[in-house]
């Protein structure tokens, strides 16, 4: 059994606003195992970013309920002072937009070294050594020269490499990457994804990858959590989610993306739009868009059904009391 490194239990995050409370995350559960890549997939507004920000308590929303267990601490309630020790050292984060997440007025070197001196007892020159090593690891040529440069002197892909270097300087055990390649071109995306794989192999870091791109997921993820309207509606390993998806939403997602390797097939979009999270529906949030919705879906949120050891789904169709339905595209 592989060791669990991070556990999120029944996380609820809300944003009080002028127009009411937005219940962005409504009871999310998942575990992250050592050395694996867990992808959190969903569309905009499904709560995937809020979930990831809540893990480091960077969210501006209120963590209403739930626990985030890491190394015996509950990050949801840990005092700010203690949390600062973990943030950036044990758990670090890569943001979506490499253009805005680096400070434009400070050199890359200072930004890298700051993280190291904050979290370790290394001297400035020792820190510089680590910074150089990291830049080299992420594939930046001529690192000692590059340390003296400012973010605007780097391209988008290079900046994302620097962000990755920065997140690795303290040798974290968990790396949260929020849409790390969305702002990049595909050829650069391929370079960065390759880099993630290499880093994971060399450092054994566990990665939480937030993305909406199922292709990226198929390429790098070990396990996948599908989020919809603030809930994890399906979670399982890569094979299970891609070849035996049980939630109608997951199947809908897979059908709505065109495949470059396949001949003309009509795309089947999911009709409608996600529900309003000011007043989320009482029952299953996907019901309004689901072609297999039943009476029960309107009234109760589905219980979690265990398909097998590697696969869980929140759908009434999979409940023991429902008629047996299975879906598989392979095997």
């Amino acid at each position: 059994m592989v060791e669990t490194i991070l556990e999120v239990n029944d996380l609820h995050v809300s944003f009080p606003t002028y127009g009411g409370t937005v219940k962005a995350v409504r009871g999310v559960n998942f575990t992250l195992k050592k050395g694996e890549t867990l992808a959190i997939v969903g569309e905009s507004g499904c709560g995937k970013t809020v979930t990831s920000e809540s893990i480091m308590r960077l969210t501006t929303g209120d963590i209403v309920k739930g626990a985030i267990l890491f190394n015996g601490h509950d990050l949801a309630t840990l005092p700010e002072k203690e949390l600062r020790k973990i943030r950036g050292s044990d758990i670090s984060m890569i943001f979506q937009d490499p253009m805005t997440s680096l400070n434009p007025t400070i050199t890359i070197g200072s930004q890298l070294i700051e993280g190291i001196t904050q979290h370790t007892h290394k001297s400035k020159s020792e820190a510089k050594e680590v910074a150089l090593e990291m830049l080299d690891l992420v594939g930046i040529a001529n690192p000692s020269e590059r340390l003296k440069q400012y973010p605007h002197q780097f391209s988008g892909g290079m900046r994302q490499r620097i962000m990755i270097a920065m997140s690795l300087v303290c040798n974290p055990s968990v790396l949260i990457a929020d849409e790390p390649t969305t702002a990049l071109d595909v050829t650069i995306q391929a370079q960065i994804l390759e880099l993630f794989k290499k880093i994971q192999k060399e450092t054994g870091v566990s990665i939480i990858l937030i993305t909406h791109d199922l292709g990226v997921v198929a390429q790098v993820a070990d396990r996948i959590a599908i989020m919809y309207a603030g809930k994890v509606v399906e979670i399982g390993n890569r094979q299970e989610i891609f070849y035996r998806p049980q939630h109608p939403y997951t199947r809908g997602l897979l059908r709505s993306v065109p495949r470059i390797d396949k001949e003309e097939e009509a795309l089947i979009p999911i009709p409608g739009t996600p529900p309003d999270l000011f007043s989320p529906p009482k029952g299953c949030p996907f019901m309004a868009r689901c072609d297999q919705a039943m009476e029960v879906c309107d009234h109760y949120y589905p219980l979690t059904s265990h398909i097998n050891d590697h696969h869980k789904v929140d759908c009434w169709l999979q409940d023991e009391r429902a008629k047996k339905v299975t879906f598989a595209t392979k095997g």
């Binding site: 071109d185 050829t187 370079q191 199922l214 292709g215 390797d261 739009t273």
Partner: protein, 334 residues
């Protein structure tokens, strides 16, 4: 395919922007292609390759630097102001950002009717039913006419943008990244709508996007752009089955496929480095700095268009040689 009627011809189009101090950004540098009536022509490439500039120069949102854009045989860049307005009756555009391309202070009805008002179409009693008809065509509700853009989701806004473009019954629509700002499940809705409208109305599309899988899905023919040049042009099926240009090959192999078993077996061509600056593009072939099979000649001579197969064009020295060899063989056989 050669017999089909050409609707748009782009001939050696160039668009250069001056960047002060006598430096010139060559956003589009000698691009030629034809678009046939009723087809969808896809233009793909990464950011900064000049695909949007090409689209915008084609309807004279930018003035060309050199070259010609013929619409129904008429050079768009030589029209006077009046003719230019008349042209927009036939050529319409759908923009990338559905949040920025709709006036937030106008109602949906005003937005959709604006092109009609400009051209004096559907006036008086016909105006309201026309607006309602357009809303229904794009899958919205006729009651939506009096609402404002902020009341709609991204996908719905893009539908409003499409309704606006359709209002004057154009022949040709330039869609500049129409789905990039949308969620995947909604992207499919908009693409299906565009396809359906094309079938019903015989529209011709120029579909500009960076997402090659979606472009392949919707297009009949595709031009692949790199740094202001089209490097390969062919039908969408042969582009995937038989990509010739090293850049096209790398681009295709970089696209992740949502199928783990295929992903595990795939071998990727990972390009080194990044896009060079279009202010100071490489000499010869623009792709040579990242090309895995670059030769000496690539640095000095710009590759010319070679028709490798029927209607499959590529600008690469590797194929120029092959073409020469083939011609030679043919001559020898004779």
């Amino acid at each position: 395919m050669g017999q089909r009627e050409k609707l748009v011809e782009v001939k050696h189009l160039k668009k250069h922007f001056t960047m002060g101090k006598r430096s010139v950004l060559k956003a589009v540098d000698d691009v030629s292609f034809d678009i046939y009536k009723g087809e969808t022509f896809g233009l793909v490439g990464e950011s900064g390759c000049g695909k949007s500039t090409t689209g915008r120069t084609m309807i004279r949102l930018y003035d060309r630097t050199a070259g010609q854009v013929l619409f129904n045989g008429q050079d768009i860049h030589q029209l006077n102001a009046k003719e230019q307005i008349a042209l927009t009756k036939n050529v319409q555009m759908v923009f990338q950002d559905p949040y920025a391309s709709l006036n937030p202070r106008s109602t949906v009805a005003e937005i959709i009717a604006e092109p009609m008002d400009v051209h004096g179409l559907y006036t008086g009693k016909k105006r309201k039913p026309r607006i309602q008809e357009l809303l229904e065509i794009v899958g919205l509700n006729r009651d939506h006419a009096n609402r404002f853009p902020h009341e709609f989701s991204g996908g719905q806004r893009q539908r409003i943008g499409i309704a606006r473009a359709l209002s004057v019954d154009p022949d040709f629509i330039i869609a500049d990244e129409p789905i990039s700002a949308l969620d995947v499940s909604v992207q499919a809705q908009v693409v299906n709508l565009m396809k359906q409208l094309q079938e019903e109305r015989g529209l011709t599309y120029l579909f500009i996007a960076h997402d090659l899988s979606m472009v392949k899905h919707i297009s009949d023919r595709i031009g692949v752009m790199y740094l202001g040049n089209i490097v390969e042009l062919t039908s969408s099926a042969s582009l995937y089955q038989k990509p010739l240009h090293p850049y096209t090959q790398a681009l295709l192999s970089a696209i992740p496929i949502p199928d783990p078993d295929i992903e595990d077996k795939r071998e990727r061509i990972i390009l080194k480095g990044e896009l060079p600056s279009p202010v100071n593009p490489p000499s010869g072939c623009v792709f040579r700095t990242r090309c895995p099979v670059a030769m000496a000649i690539c640095a000095s001579v710009k590759p010319s268009w070679t028709e490798v197969d029927d209607q499959h064009y590529v600008a690469c020295h590797i194929f120029e040689g092959q073409q020469a060899k083939k011609t030679k063989e043919k001559i020898e056989q004779l």
